[in-house]
C-alpha cells in the first residue's frame, strides 16, 4: 500500500530525514519509535503533505501513485489520514461542519453520494459511542477549549468517520491520561481490518500495550536503524534509546 524509498527531507537547511525505507501493506500496524529529534514526526508530516518540508531525494508511492505529487487534500481524499500531534484549534468552525464537509469531499472523490445532515448524524453516532464522544462536542468549535485528551479523542473520532486506508498517528498517546489512552486505543483497534494500514508514531512503548503492532521500527538520525516485531518495543523500553544510538554509531562506522 505504501512504499517509502530512500526518503530524504529538509526543513530550511536542516536535513531531517536521511534515507527512510518503509513498506506498509494493507492490514498491518507499524510502530515507529525513536528519541526526540529522530525524525518521527517529520516522516508523518511529509506523508500528509505538510508544506514546510522539502523532499530532496527518494520517493513515496501510495497505492501505485506518486504521493509526493499530491496536494494535502488529494492525499486525504485518496485515503491518508494524519492524527495531529498538536490538533489545531479553529474558532468559529464547528466540529460537525468540518467533519461533514470533509466526509463529503472524500465521498465525492470516491464517487459516492454526499450525505445530508440527517444521514450524516446517523453515520457519526455509532462512532461517537466508540470514542465516548459527547454529542455536544459536535457543536463546539474545532478543538477550541478542548482538553488535551479531548483533542486526541477528537482526532481519532475524525479518523473513524473518514475511514482512511492509511492512518498515521503522530504521537497521539503523548500527554494522555489512562482513560483517554484506553479510549483512543479502543478506537484505533476497532478500526483495524484487512484493508486498512496504520502507522503509529510514538516515543513510548506504553501505547503499544493497547495497540499491538505487527512491526516496530526504530528511527534515529533520520534513518530506520532497527526493525523488528513487538518484542523490539519491549527491548527498547528495557534498554532505552541510548542502546539504539549505540547501534547507529556501529552502523555508521
Amino acid at each position: 500500500m505504501l512504499e517509502v524509498s530512500n526518503l530524504h527531507a529538509t526543513v530550511g537547511n536542516k536535513q531531517i530525514l536521511n534515507g527512510i525505507n518503509l513498506s506498509v501493506k494493507a492490514g498491518e500496524v507499524h510502530a515507529i519509535m525513536g528519541p526526540n529529534g529522530s525524525g518521527k514526526s517529520t516522516l508523518a508530516s511529509v506523508l500528509a503533505g505538510r508544506e514546510e518540508f522539502d523532499v530532496t531525494e527518494g520517493s513515496v508511492v501510495f497505492q501505485g501513485q506518486d504521493l509526493l505529487e499530491m496536494e494535502p487534500e488529494e492525499r486525504a481524499r485518496e485515503g491518508i489520514f494524519l492524527a495531529f500531534q498538536y490538533p489545531v484549534e479553529i474558532p468559529g468552525v464547528n466540529n460537525a461542519y468540518l467533519l461533514k464537509a470533509a466526509l463529503n469531499e472524500i465521498r465525492k472523490h470516491r464517487g459516492e453520494a454526499e450525505l445530508d445532515a440527517m444521514d450524516f448524524m446517523t453515520f457519526v453516532k455509532e462512532r461517537m459511542n466508540i470514542l465516548e464522544i459527547d454529542q455536544s462536542l459536535m457543536n463546539r468549535p474545532v478543538n477550541e477549549g478542548f482538553s488535551g485528551g479531548e483533542k486526541k479523542r477528537n482526532e481519532i473520532f475524525q479518523m473513524a468517520v473518514l475511514e482512511p486506508k492509511l492512518a498515521i498517528m503522530d504521537e497521539t498517546d503523548s500527554g494522555l491520561d489512562i482513560d483517554a489512552l484506553r479510549i483512543v486505543s479502543n478506537g484505533v483497534n476497532a478500526m483495524r481490518n484487512a484493508e486498512r494500514a496504520t502507522v503509529v508514531v510514538t516515543h513510548y512503548q506504553r501505547l503499544l500495550n493497547y495497540i499491538v503492532p505487527d512491526f516496530v521500527h526504530v528511527l534515529s538520525g533520520g534513518r530506520i536503524v532497527k526493525s523488528g516485531d513487538k518484542e523490539l518495543a519491549l527491548e527498547l523500553e528495557d534498554k532505552g534509546y541510548s542502546w539504539i544510538e549505540g547501534v547507529t554509531e556501529s552502523v555508521g562506522s
Binding site: V88, P91, V93, A101
Partner: protein, 456 residues
C-alpha cells in the same frame, strides 16, 4: 495639498434646496450656517488628522448633481434589502434620495410610533413634531473635519424621522432603504448623482426598537451617498441598530452617525460594509447619563482597490457606563482599511468600563490597514482596554483543514467565514444574520462582486 473649495454644483444644489425645499425657518437658517461652514472648509484633505489615511480627492474631483427621482418596482426593491425580502417589516424607501410612498409601508404602526419622510413632516406638520428641536443638535458641522456633515445639513432633501413614544415597544424591525440607481435612460448622460439623506431617531424613555438602515445601488457611474443619522435614546430606552452598506462598486459613501444616550439607555449598533469604492463610517456616541450601555460592532469586507474607513468615538460623560466595541475587517487585493477608535472618559465618568477590539485579516500582501486606538482618560477609577490585531490566514489551520480533504479554496473560505462568525453571531435579527451569511459566502466564493481568490 491645497484646500478644496465648494464647487459651483454644490452652490447650485444649495440654492435650489433653499428655494424649493428649505423647510421651516429654523431649518433654513441651519442650512445656511452649514453651507457657510462647508464653503469655508471645503472637503477635507489628508492634511486633516481625521482624514489622514482617507483621500477623498476622487470625490472632490467629481461633479455631482442632485439625484433625480426614478421608479423602481417592488421586485427590484426586494433585492436591495438586507435579507432578500422585506420580511413584512415597516419599511421606508428612498430611491435616489426621493421618498417612494408606493414602495414604503409605514401606514400601520403601533400607537406612539412615527416613521415618516422627514421632508413631509417638516412641510406639513405645524410643529414639525419637535424635529426642529432635535435636528442638527448632535452632528458637528463646524469643525474642518466635519465638512461632509455640513454638506448634508445644507443639502438634505429628505430622509427619515422615527419617533417612538415613551414605554412603547416596537416588535418588528423598522427598515430604511436608500437606493441609488441609474437616473437616465440615455447611457451617454453619465451624470454622477448625489444624495444627502438625513435621519433622525428619537426613542423616548423606556421605549424599545430595532432599526435597519440599508444603502445599496446599482449603477456604473460614480455616485455619492452622504448621510447623517442622529439618534437620541431616552432614559432606559433600548435600541438595536444595523447599518448595511451595500453600495455599488463605483459609489462613495460617507456616513456620520451621532448617538446621544441618556441614563440607562442601551444601544447596540452594527456597521456592516460590503460594498462601495470609498466608504467612511463615522460614529460619535455620547454616553450622557449614568448606567448607559453602548455596543458598537463593525464588519467590513473589501477587495480590489476599495477603501473602508471606520472612525468611532465613544465619549463617556457620566459615571457607571460601559461600552464595548468590536470591529473586524477582511481585506483582499489592494484594499485599504482605516480603523480609528477613540474613547474619551471625561473627568466625571468614574467607574467607566470600556473595551475596544479591532481585528483585521489580510488576504493579500498588498492589502493594508491603518489602525489606531485613541484613549483620552480624565477620570481615575476606570477600566479601559483596547487591542488590535492584524493577521493572515493561519497556515497551520489551513493545513489541518486540507489534511481532512477540504480543497484550498474551501479551506480559505471556511477560515475567513470563521473569522467573521463572532460578529455575525452578535446580530440579533435572525433573518439579517442569515442574509449576511449568504452575502458573505457569495463574496468569498467570488460569485459576489469581485472574487477573493485572484491572489496567490
Amino acid at each position: 495639498m491645497t484646500q478644496l473649495v465648494a464647487s459651483p454644483p454644490y452652490t447650485n444644489a444649495f440654492e435650489q434646496i433653499q428655494r424649493d425645499h428649505a423647510g421651516p425657518a429654523t431649518i433654513a437658517d441651519l442650512r445656511r450656517v452649514a453651507f457657510d461652514q462647508f464653503s469655508k472648509h471645503g472637503l477635507p484633505t489628508t492634511t486633516s488628522e481625521e482624514w489622514r489615511f482617507t483621500n477623498v480627492r476622487p470625490i472632490a474631483d467629481t461633479t455631482f448633481v442632485p439625484a433625480q427621482a426614478v421608479k423602481l418596482t417592488n421586485e427590484e426593491l426586494v433585492q436591495y434589502s438586507a435579507t432578500g425580502s422585506l420580511d413584512g417589516w415597516p419599511t421606508i424607501v428612498f430611491v435616489n434620495g426621493h421618498y417612494d410612498a408606493a414602495l414604503s409601508s409605514v401606514a400601520e404602526l403601533p400607537d406612539g410610533v412615527v416613521v415618516e419622510s422627514l421632508a413631509n413632516v417638516l412641510d406639513s406638520s405645524p410643529d414639525s413634531m419637535g424635529i426642529e428641536q432635535c435636528l442638527g443638535k448632535g452632528a458637528d458641522i463646524h469643525s474642518d473635519s466635519a465638512a461632509f456633515a455640513a454638506l448634508n445639513t445644507a443639502l438634505f432633501r429628505d430622509g427619515v424621522f422615527v419617533r417612538v413614544a415613551a414605554n412603547v415597544v416596537v416588535d418588528s424591525p423598522i427598515q430604511m432603504l436608500f437606493i441609488t440607481t441609474s437616473q437616465s435612460t440615455d447611457p451617454d448622460a453619465m451624470e454622477s448623482p448625489m444624495t444627502h439623506p438625513r435621519i433622525l431617531i428619537v426613542a423616548e424613555e423606556n421605549s424599545q426598537l430595532r432599526l435597519v438602515e440599508t444603502y445599496a445601488g446599482e449603477t456604473n457611474t460614480a455616485y455619492l451617498t452622504n448621510v447623517v443619522t442622529e439618534v437620541v435614546a431616552g432614559e432606559n430606552a433600548a435600541i438595536d441598530h444595523y447599518k448595511l452598506v451595500r453600495e455599488a462598486s463605483a459609489a462613495y459613501h460617507i456616513g456620520h452617525m451621532h448617538l446621544r444616550l441618556l441614563q440607562r439607555a442601551n444601544l447596540s449598533s452594527h456597521a456592516i460594509t460590503l460594498g462601495g469604492n470609498i466608504v467612511r463610517n463615522d460614529i460619535l456616541a455620547v454616553l450622557d447619563g449614568e448606567g448607559v450601555s453602548c455596543t458598537l460592532n463593525g464588519l467590513y469586507i473589501a477587495n480590489g482597490q476599495r477603501l473602508v474607513d471606520n472612525h468611532t468615538t465613544i465619549r463617556h460623560a457620566k459615571p457607571h457606563c460601559e461600552s464595548h466595541e468590536l470591529y473586524k475587517g477582511i481585506l483582499g487585493d489592494q484594499a485599504h482599511a482605516v480603523f480609528n477608535g477613540k474613547i474619551v472618559v471625561e473627568i466625571d465618568a468614574q467607574k467607566t468600563d470600556a473595551k475596544q477590539t479591532n481585528k483585521a485579516l489580510l488576504l493579500s500582501e498588498d492589502a493594508q490597514i491603518n489602525t489606531k486606538p485613541e484613549l483620552e482618560i480624565f477620570a481615575d477609577d476606570v477600566k479601559c482596554t483596547h487591542g488590535a490585531t492584524v493577521g493572515q490566514l493561519d497556515s497551520e489551520a489551513m493545513f489541518y483543514l486540507r489534511s481532512r480533504g477540504l480543497g484550498l479554496e474551501q479551506a480559505r473560505s471556511v477560515l475567513i467565514h470563521a473569522f467573521a462568525s463572532d460578529l455575525l453571531n452578535r446580530i440579533g435579527i435572525p433573518s439579517i444574520r442569515a442574509g449576511l451569511d449568504e452575502l458573505l459566502l457569495a463574496q468569498l466564493s467570488g460569485s459576489g462582486e469581485g472574487g477573493f481568490y485572484e491572489f496567490g
